[in-house]
Structure formats: structure tokens, C-alpha cells
């Protein structure tokens, strides 16, 4: 067991030195102790001092290990030192031992009766050990300086690393703190967008729409969204309200699904057709949008829906094919010079029916009322021809590309522009009432989104019908 106190060391060393002096004095005194016995005592004392020194080292080591303030780095650093002592201590002790034992042997060679050869060996050992010791001491400053520099660099690097880690952590905290309002802002903005659309659908058009077009829980969704947007922003509440509004049972998704039966024929499915129509309607020019609305909502004829000078005789011939009974009645005139130009001219005038009756009515139409009815349908077809020309192939392709980021059901799959244009026809009377109403509501909603400069494609990307 190691000693409790290092005070044993000076006592042991003191005893060793005192013994050494006493033995030396006894040997020098005439008639003293026998030389061999003295040397044995001397070696014993040196060993005793050495044992005391090791005892002291062990005590220091245990004391350091049991000290709570000792860090793992310090223990690791101690392991790299010889006997966990300051560098050079072991060399010094060895040199001391050689000196303490060897020098008396040399001094008392004659007294001890040692031969010259042994004295030479001892001299060589002492000289070698001392030479090594002092030689090492001479080189030590460089080594120490290098070690200190290395230690200083290591310490500096550790300090820098700690500084960097601290700075990185602080930066992460700062970024997180800075992003928090942005994330909240994004989430709030998204919910606000969908809430505005839902309000328009539920509270604006809802009363006029057949039962089932607007989901039953829509009012509760609106309340939830409004609560989430009031007071301090709570991301989880905002996310829950947004999920409710943008889910399959949300108002917009339900409306798109309800309109789907009249929007078939587009690759990707009817929902993709609805998405395409909404997106294209939003990108049209003001005049193009007026034509779109008039077409889908089957509005009465309005000459201002056409751009000045835009209706050609070729348009009239193309539109005539869409009104078969009218085309059949006029079939005999089709190849006469100026027929298409005259038809265009009469159809675009307010008194067109009377002109038609006067010029071509006899024998072809039963009454002016029949002509009036046919002309109404012909004008609608003309509007359709113009509206279809508003939807260019490029616009369809670009919109399909934009919708490729929407949920799979809303993605048009390489749509045929002509198929998309056909969707612009007024909803047939045979279509389900729910689908007709949903289509009209979608058109009105597109108009509202145009007025508020809100891109429906961005909304569509966020819903999952």
C-alpha cells in the first residue's frame, strides 16, 4: 500500500545521504568497517532510497487519479511521459545512482582492493552515463522548445476548433432562429391562400352549388383555418388546417373532382383536364378570358367578344360545320362566290337574322324564328372557334410542364392541344347537373384568381384530390 504522505521521501533520502556520509567516514577512518561490508551497506541504502522514490511516485499517481479535477486529457498526456514523470527525470535518477554508487567505488578503489581493470570499467560506465546525461541535456532545449511549440500549436488548434464549433453552433442557432419566422410565414401564406379560395367556394358559390359539390365539413375547415391564422403562429395548427383544406375532402379538390365528368378526353384523366383548363384560363389575355367565360358559361352573343377584324370567312366556314342543320340548309350556296364572306358579314351584324332571311331564307328555312335560332348557335360556334384559337399548342405544352409538379392525378400526360381545346365547348345539357355547376364554379373561381393575381397552378400543386 502506498504511503499516505510524501513526507516519507525526504526522510528516506535523508537517511540514505546520512548513511552514505557515515559509511564514507567509517571507511576513511583507520581501523573502521571492512570495505566490502561498507559497499554492501551503501548499495542497500541507495536501493532503499530508490524504493522510497518509487513509493512516492505511486502515491502521486494514485492521488492524481483519484482527484476529480483530473481530466482524461491530462491522464492521456501522463501516459506519454516516462514513468509519468517530467521529461528527463528518469535519466537524472539513473545518472544520480551511477554517480552515487560509482564515484565512491572509484574513490576507494585502493581501499576496496579492486583491480585497475574494474576501476577502468567503472570509470567507463560513469563517463558514459554522465556523457549521455549532459549530452542529452545539451540537446534538450531544442527538443523542449519543439515540444512546447507543438503543445502550443495543439492547444491553439484545440482552441480554434472549440471556437469554430462554438461559432458553427451559434450560426446554426441563428439560422434556425432566422428561418423560424420564414417557415411560419410560408406556412401562414400557404394557409391564407387556400383559405381565400375555400372562402370563395364555400361562402361565395357554395349556396348556389348542388349538394355534394362542397364537402360537408367545409365550414369546420374554414373555422379551423381562421383560428390557426389568429394570434401567435402555431406551426402544428397551421399545418393541420392546411392539410384539411388541401386534402381530397378540401373544397377545391372536391370542386375539381365534381367537374371531372365533363372534362374527359385529356391524356392524364379528367382531373388533369380540369387542372389544364384552370391554368390555361389564368394565362389568357383579357379578351381571351372574356371569350373563355362566355364559351363555358354559354353567355349570349356579344360582338365585342371578338377582336376587331379577327373573324375571317374561313372561321365562318369552320364554325358552320358545328351547326349541322344550318350547314345543311345553306349547302346549296356554299360554292357560290362570296358565300363565306356574306355569311360572316350577316352573322356579325345585329340585324343578321333579318338579312339572312331576306337573302337566303326563301325555301331554305321555315321561318325567321328558325333562322334566329340557327344563327344564335352559329354565333356560339364562331365564338368557340375564336376561343380555341386563344389556346395555342405552346401554351398547352408549357402548362402541362408546370403541372408536372402537381399530384399525380392532376398531371396531364403529353396532352393533345386539340383535345384540350375541345374542353372549351359549353357543357352539354346531358351532363350531370353537379358537373355543370362545378365547371361554372371553376370558371368563376378562375376569374377571381385572375383578379387577385393568384396563380391557380400553385394552388393545384398543393392539393391532393
Amino acid at each position: 500500500m502506498p504511503p499516505d504522505s510524501p513526507r516519507l521521501l525526504p526522510m528516506a533520502l535523508g537517511a540514505g545521504v546520512a548513511g552514505f556520509l557515515a559509511v564514507t567516514a567509517a571507511m576513511a577512518w583507520p581501523g573502521g568497517l571492512h570495505a566490502t561490508q561498507l559497499v554492501a551497506v551503501l548499495i542497500f541504502l541507495v536501493r532503499l532510497g530508490f524504493a522510497a522514490f518509487l513509493w512516492w511516485l505511486a502515491a502521486r499517481s494514485f492521488a492524481m487519479l483519484s482527484n476529480p479535477a483530473t481530466t482524461a486529457d491530462q491522464i492521456a498526456a501522463m501516459r506519454e511521459l516516462p514513468m509519468a514523470l517530467p521529461e528527463g527525470t528518469v535519466r537524472a535518477v539513473l545518472a544520480l545512482i551511477v554517480g552515487v554508487v560509482g564515484l565512491p567505488l572509484l574513490l576507494f578503489t585502493a581501499t576496496l582492493g579492486l583491480s585497475d581493470a574494474i576501476a577502468g570499467y567503472v570509470n567507463g560506465i560513469i563517463a558514459g552515463v554522465f556523457g549521455y546525461y549532459f549530452g542529452a541535456r545539451a540537446q534538450m532545449p531544442d527538443a523542449q522548445a519543439q515540444r512546447r511549440v507543438t503543445e502550443a500549436l495543439t492547444t491553439e488548434q484545440r482552441a480554434h476548433a472549440e471556437t469554430r464549433a462554438g461559432a458553427a453552433s451559434a450560426a446554426e442557432d441563428a439560422v434556425a432562429a432566422a428561418l423560424r419566422p420564414v417557415q411560419e410565414g410560408d406556412a401562414t401564406g400557404r394557409l391564407a391562400r387556400h383559405l381565400a379560395v375555400a372562402e370563395a367556394l364555400v361562402e361565395g358559390f357554395g349556396a348556389a352549388l348542388p349538394v355534394g359539390v362542397i364537402p360537408q365539413g367545409a365550414a369546420a375547415m374554414l373555422r379551423q383555418a381562421r383560428q390557426a391564422l389568429t394570434g401567435n403562429p402555431d406551426l402544428s395548427a397551421i399545418a393541420a388546417a392546411t392539410t384539411a383544406l388541401t386534402g381530397a375532402s378540401g373544397p377545391l379538390a372536391s370542386l375539381v373532382s365534381a367537374a371531372a365528368p365533363v372534362l374527359g378526353g385529356v391524356a392524364g384523366g379528367p382531373l388533369a383536364g380540369a387542372a389544364l383548363l384552370l391554368g390555361l384560363g389564368w394565362t389568357l389575355s383579357a379578351q381571351g378570358w372574356r371569350r373563355w367565360q362566355a364559351q363555358v358559361l354559354d353567355a349570349p352573343h356579344d360582338p365585342t367578344l371578338f377582336d376587331p377584324g379577327s373573324i375571317t370567312p374561313a372561321d365562318a366556314l369552320a364554325s358552320l360545320d358545328a351547326v349541322p342543320d344550318f350547314a345543311a340548309a345553306l349547302a346549296g350556296l356554299r360554292n357560290t362566290p362570296g358565300f363565306a364572306a356574306e355569311l360572316t358579314d350577316m352573322a356579325l351584324r345585329d340585324d343578321g337574322a333579318a338579312r339572312l332571311w331576306s337573302a337566303w331564307g326563301a325555301g331554305r328555312f321555315a321561318s325567321p324564328a328558325v333562322i334566329e335560332d340557327a344563327l344564335t348557335r352559329f354565333r356560339r360556334a364562331l365564338l368557340g372557334t375564336e376561343a380555341r384559337q386563344d389556346i395555342t399548342d405552346t401554351a398547352v405544352t408549357e402548362m402541362a410542364t408546370r403541372l408536372s409538379a402537381a399530384s399525380p392525378a392532376l398531371r396531364p400526360d403529353a396532352p393533345d392541344p386539340e383535345a384540350v381545346r375541345r374542353l372549351l365547348a359549353p357543357t352539354p345539357a346531358s351532363a350531370p347537373e353537379t358537373a355543370r355547376a362545378a365547371m361554372e364554379a371553376l370558371t368563376l373561381l378562375t376569374g377571381q384568381l385572375r383578379d387577385t393575381h393568384q396563380d391557380p397552378v400553385e394552388l393545384l400543386k398543393e392539393i391532393t384530390p
Binding site: F306, P308, G309, S310, I311, T312, T344, D345, M346, L348
Partner: protein
């Protein structure tokens, strides 16, 4: 005072003198202050040498006046007029053809193409096909802002007739 009087008299006598010496120039002088309807109603003085710059100008003015009359007869939003405007379109196409001889103006070419297309829709199929080709040729010389639409409409005429 006497000098000013002579100048006034000289100016008053200039037009009759020019009408005798150079009738196209005199007509051009009158048309510069006439209404389109008046120009459309009056033929270009004959003979009118094509090498005379005043003659080309006269044909251009009359073509523009006839075209304006024809287009004014269109129904609202229509691209071309009905049969009632055929004489005006005949006048316009003939005038533009004369005016474009020696004048590579893109505006004249575009207006010529427009007149040919509208006339084609009022013509029998064979004549319409010929006018369609002529319109395509004129549209090719029109400016880049009008050429595409005119070319499209000239093709529509050719395909429909």
C-alpha cells in the same frame, strides 16, 4: 403692293397651267386635299406613264382610298367585307398592283395582300385560288409584323376555295 398682287395671281393660275402641262401632277395636287370617298370615285388620269413618279403615287392613293371604303363596309369584327364591297376591292387590288411597280414598300405589299385575300373570298373558286397565290406572294414582301398573319389567311383562302 403690286408685287404681292402678282404673286397671288401667279399662284391662282398655277393649277390650270399644271393641269394642261402635267395632268397627273395636277390630279395629285387635288388628291392631296381630297376625301377618300372622292379619290375612290375618280379614276387615275389617263394616260399615266408608269415611269412618272406622280402616277405611282396616284395609284397608291386611290388604292388606299378604295381599301378604306371596302374595309369601312365590313361588319363589326369581320376581317373582310361582303359582296357589296367587291367594286372597292377590285379598285384596291388594281391600284396596289400599279403602285407597287417600282416601289418595294412593305406597307403597300401588306395592303395589297389584304385586298387580294378579301377579294378572293368574294370570287369564284378558280379566281380565288389565283388570288390566294398572288396574296401569298405579296405577303412575302410585307413587313415582319404583318407577314405571318397575312400568309396564314392567304393559305386559308387557298385551302377553302
Amino acid at each position: 403692293m403690286n408685287r404681292h398682287l402678282w404673286l397671288l395671281l401667279g399662284a391662282m393660275g398655277c393649277a390650270p397651267v399644271a393641269a394642261v402641262l402635267d395632268p397627273p401632277l395636277a390630279q395629285l395636287n387635288r388628291w392631296n386635299h381630297a376625301l377618300p370617298a372622292e379619290i375612290a370615285a375618280e379614276p387615275v388620269s389617263s394616260p399615266c406613264d408608269a415611269a412618272n413618279p406622280a402616277c405611282r403615287r396616284l395609284h397608291g392613293l386611290r388604292a388606299a382610298a378604295c381599301m378604306e371604303q371596302a374595309m369601312a363596309a365590313r361588319a363589326p369584327r369581320a376581317a373582310c367585307p361582303g359582296l357589296a364591297a367587291r367594286p372597292m376591292l377590285d379598285c384596291a387590288t388594281a391600284g396596289y398592283e400599279q403602285a407597287r411597280a417600282g416601289d418595294a414598300s412593305a406597307v403597300l405589299a401588306a395592303n395589297h395582300a389584304q385586298a387580294l385575300i378579301c377579294l378572293g373570298w368574294l370570287s369564284a373558286p378558280d379566281e380565288a385560288a389565283r388570288l390566294s397565290r398572288a396574296a401569298l406572294s405579296a405577303a412575302a414582301s410585307a413587313g415582319p409584323d404583318r407577314a405571318p398573319l397575312l400568309t396564314l389567311r392567304a393559305r386559308e383562302l387557298g385551302e377553302a376555295r
